[in-house]
């Protein structure tokens, strides 16, 4: 590195301190840290809401809250967990890791990156403000429609629906900005020699995610805009009296909503093979097959949306089409599962916390995927639809498949990001408590759903009492064990055993060639990849 570069580097490393550093930053690591911190805080906000729900469902009858408030908690829990916890966590890792993994000096559009983050706190305020306003007698609380905003309920609802609509708008702008930034970074900032087919899987996962966001988030924005004009300006998009159709909203919403599932999962599918190859100490199996599977899942995800509302009414050919195309998604997923298992096959494996989470993830996400295959069957879905079966299914895909994957990634990269090793014993304890209590929370819900317990209802028949009690106790255990996670992250950020540059014995890739923690500006001189 020449002397001029060093001088340049140090001049740039100067930055304001205190709150101004974080408000004004254009540094990808600062912004990544803000995303991750925000996601962790909102994970607990959303978690507290659902513990309120579980407490109400502890036994039959209404004990703690009225049904309206129950519905509000459910809707806001989902919106927060999806848009304010899981997506920002994935974006945080994208900001931290994509420039390190492709050997870039920073993200391509740093100021846009800053804007993308600072749109999130206002959206979180919009989502939760109606609860506070209701305490002062203004309005009747947050949206009580569930996160899906189905009309006509959402057209009749109070100001909570408007707040949620605008929260979705701001979150949408944030996601589109983040996606633009990631696509530009991947196409324009790679180090010499880093061809597309040499990119780490995580970068590939995020590239497809960004494409999906660009294609679908604006459709959601359009759909909620129509909802807004139906509510306040007299349009009839979702009103049959004017020639519109409430079911049209379901089509528009799920055209976004189904790809959203893969938007949440694709970044995690990027973590998994990288962690597997590190702790199996052998190169990943089927890199190309996995990349092509990402493309296949991405392409299929935008043409299968109507399987979310088979029971709303559709012509039979449409039902058959959406059933078969949904089932077709399991083909590329099966390829990925095979590659993940084959990567571990005959490897010299060790089970540090990230690996434990990954192996646990493969099993639990597998259950999520297989129960999804059952739901894709039109005839079977008529029984499962809107029951607790579907609740259990999507928590296997989004809590196990999404959040546990994020946790695996957190333990994997935390030493790189902070420069310290986390507490391995606490990490393992966190894994076992999470995995066991997660299963105890949601396995009973599969049976509750099969027995006919509907979702989003605060009261239930006596026959469901035992399983709900088990589920509630396990849910509180699950929630409390996440405090270990926070404690581990905070102590790791503050100090501890120094991490080496490579951190893990089998770790491969450019991010492990930098010191731990990496300097404020990582690759001022781009490395060459052979």
């Amino acid at each position: 590195m020449s002397t001029t570069t060093v001088a340049h580097h140090e001049e740039h490393a100067e930055h304001p301190t205190g709150i101004m550093r974080w408000l004004t930053t254009t540094n990808h690591k600062d912004i990544g840290t803000m995303y991750l911190t925000f996601a962790l805080i909102m994970f607990f906000v959303g978690g507290a809401m659902i513990l309120g729900i579980r407490a109400e469902l502890f036994k039959p009858g209404l004990q703690l809250m009225n049904p309206e408030f129950f519905n509000q908690l459910i809707g806001v829990h989902a919106l927060i967990m999806i848009f304010a916890a899981l997506m920002p966590a994935a974006t945080g890792f994208a900001n931290w890791m994509i420039p390190l993994q492709i050997g870039a000096p920073d993200m391509a559009l740093p100021r846009l990156n800053n804007w993308g983050f600072w749109l999130l706190p206002p959206s979180a305020i919009l989502l939760t403000l109606p609860f506070t306003l209701a305490l002062f007698g203004i309005g009747d609380g947050a949206l009580a429609t569930g996160w899906t905003f189905y009309p006509p309920l959402s057209i009749q609802g109070g100001i909570g629906v408007d707040f949620a609509i605008f929260a979705v708008h701001l979150l949408g702008i944030s996601s589109v900005l983040g996606s633009i930034n990631i696509i530009v970074t991947v196409f324009n900032m790679r180090a010499p020699g880093m061809t597309l087919m040499k990119m780490p899987m995580f970068v590939w996962g995020w590239l497809i995610t960004a494409f999906l966001l660009i294609a679908t988030i604006p459709v959601l924005a359009g759909a909620v805009t129509m909802l807004l004009t139906d509510r306040h300006f007299g349009t009839h998009f979702f009103d049959a009296a004017g020639g519109g159709d409430p079911i049209m909203f379901q089509h528009l919403f799920w055209f976004f909503g189904h790809p959203e599932v893969y938007i949440l999962l694709l970044p995690v599918w990027g973590f998994i093979p990288q962690i597997l190859e590190t702790f199996s100490r052998k190169p990943m199996y089927g890199y190309k097959a996995q990349v092509y599977s990402f493309w296949a899942v991405g392409a299929l995800s935008v043409v299968v949306w109507a399987h979310h509302f088979f029971t709303s009414g559709m012509p039979v050919p449409a039902l058959l089409y959406f059933m078969y195309s949904t089932m077709a998604i399991s083909l590329p997923l099966a390829v990925m599962f095979f590659c993940w298992i084959k990567t571990m096959w005959k490897g010299s494996m060790s089970f540090e916390t990230p690996m434990l989470f990954t192996v646990g993830w493969i099993i639990l996400f597998g259950i999520g995927g297989l129960t999804g295959l059952v739901l894709a069957d039109v005839a079977a879905d008529a029984q499962y639809h809107n029951s607790y079966f579907i609740v259990a299914h999507f928590h296997y895909t989004l809590f196990a498949g999404g959040i546990m994957g994020i946790m695996a990634g957190t333990y994997y990269w935390l030493p790189k990001m902070t420069g310290h090793m986390y507490n391995e014993k606490l990490g393992k304890l966190h894994f076992w408590l999470t995995a066991i209590s997660f299963n105890l929370t949601f396995i009973p819900q599969f049976f509750l759903g099969l027995a006919g317990m509907p979702r989003r209802i605060p009261d239930y028949a006596l026959q469901f009492a035992e399983f709900n009690m088990i589920s509630t106790i396990a849910a509180f255990t699950l929630g409390l064990s996440q405090l270990i996670f926070v404690y581990n992250i905070v102590t790791c950020a503050r100090g501890g055993k120094k991490a080496t540059d490579q951190v893990w014995e089998g770790a491969q890739g450019l991010e492990w060639t930098l010191p731990s923690p990496p300097p404020y500006h990582s690759f001022t001189e781009q490395p060459t990849v052979k």
């Binding site: 403000l129 679908t216 924005a221 359009g222 007299g234 519109g244």
Partner: protein, 301 residues
């Protein structure tokens, strides 16, 4: 990409504008919600005035900070901070942004096709013994089986669609020729012919403004003479939302063209280095193409 290894990518210093714009959006959104809260509950009428002030505050913050932010970008551009490497980032970014805009319009076109092909004919197709809409014909354009209200009076099924070959055809000609003048201006820029550039840009801006005036006239006619409003069922909703969002984009595009025109007159662009010009030109052509879709599917067919 090997060519980039010698130069530094420009990472701008910290900026407070994005965070303030985000705060402005929060103020604008919640102000809007407060100011329309009476639609659902009369008790909230006292929120109307604070809501309006919050909207004004939010809009002021957004506009002011956008102005400052773009000013900073222009200053960085003319002091030569951007090389071909940064330029390529802006190009890819602009293309992806336009793709997201396409998806936004696709949602409204999707709604139009859904109502026209599926929901309106379906509503006319039910068994006469059970349907409440016995006289309803599922033809397009339609204000739906519930009829529409014209100046407080209920008129079943009444609807005059906007004719394609009046003002809309003129608007099509205006926008298409503005695309041509913009390209002519671009040729002037590439040949370093400042006069051709400025005349071409000025013509483009004038055509954009003429389009907006024609559309305002069309809306005025629809509301005052034809009784065609946002509340006129499926046709009214899709007509005004599609043309309205398009018109909003034309307005934004015209403002951007005016900024670029001023920058052209100041000589900010060189034949080799003029992403600002091209980005706005791409946006303008995109708006142009959306209009063609509108003309064919909303007005004509």
């Amino acid at each position: 990409m090997a060519t980039h290894s010698n130069n530094q990518y420009y990472v701008p210093h910290g900026s407070i504008y994005p965070a303030i714009i985000a705060a402005g959006l929060l103020s604008l959104a919640s102000g809007f919600i407060f100011s329309v809260a009476t639609d659902k509950s009369q008790e909230l009428a006292y929120l109307q005035t604070p809501g309006k002030w919050m909207m004004i505050l939010g809009a002021t913050l957004i506009l002011g900070m956008t102005f400052k932010w773009m000013g900073a970008v222009i200053a960085e551009s003319i002091t030569g901070q951007y090389t071909s490497w940064e330029d390529k980032s802006f190009r890819i970014g602009m293309i992806v942004f336009i793709c997201s805009e396409v998806a936004f319009f696709a949602a409204f076109f999707g709604a139009l096709f859904y109502m026209r092909i599926l929901s309106v004919p379906d509503l006319a197709g039910y068994d006469l013994d059970i349907t409440p809409y016995k006289d309803f014909l599922g033809t397009w354009p339609s204000s739906g089986p519930g009829g529409m209200t014209v100046s407080g009076e209920f008129k079943p099924g009444l609807l005059h669609p906007m004719a394609a070959w009046g003002l809309p055809a003129i608007n099509t000609a205006l926008l298409l020729s503005s695309g041509a003048t913009l390209t002519w201006a671009h040729w002037g820029l590439i040949r370093n012919n400042r006069k051709q550039l400025v005349i071409g840009m000025a013509l483009t801006v004038a055509l954009g403004i003429a389009f907006l005036i024609c559309q305002a006239a069309e809306y005025h006619e629809a509301y005052t003479e034809m009784g065609l409003t946002l509340e006129s069922g499926a046709y009214g909703a899709s007509f005004f939302m599609l043309t309205g969002f398009h018109g909003f984009h034309v307005m934004l595009g015209t403002i951007m063209l005016i900024v670029i025109l001023i920058r052209c007159m100041k000589g900010h662009f060189t034949p080799e280095h003029h992403f600002g010009f091209e980005g706005v030109a791409w946006y303008w052509h995109f708006v142009d193409v959306v209009w063609l879709g509108l003309f064919v599917f909303v007005y004509w067919l």
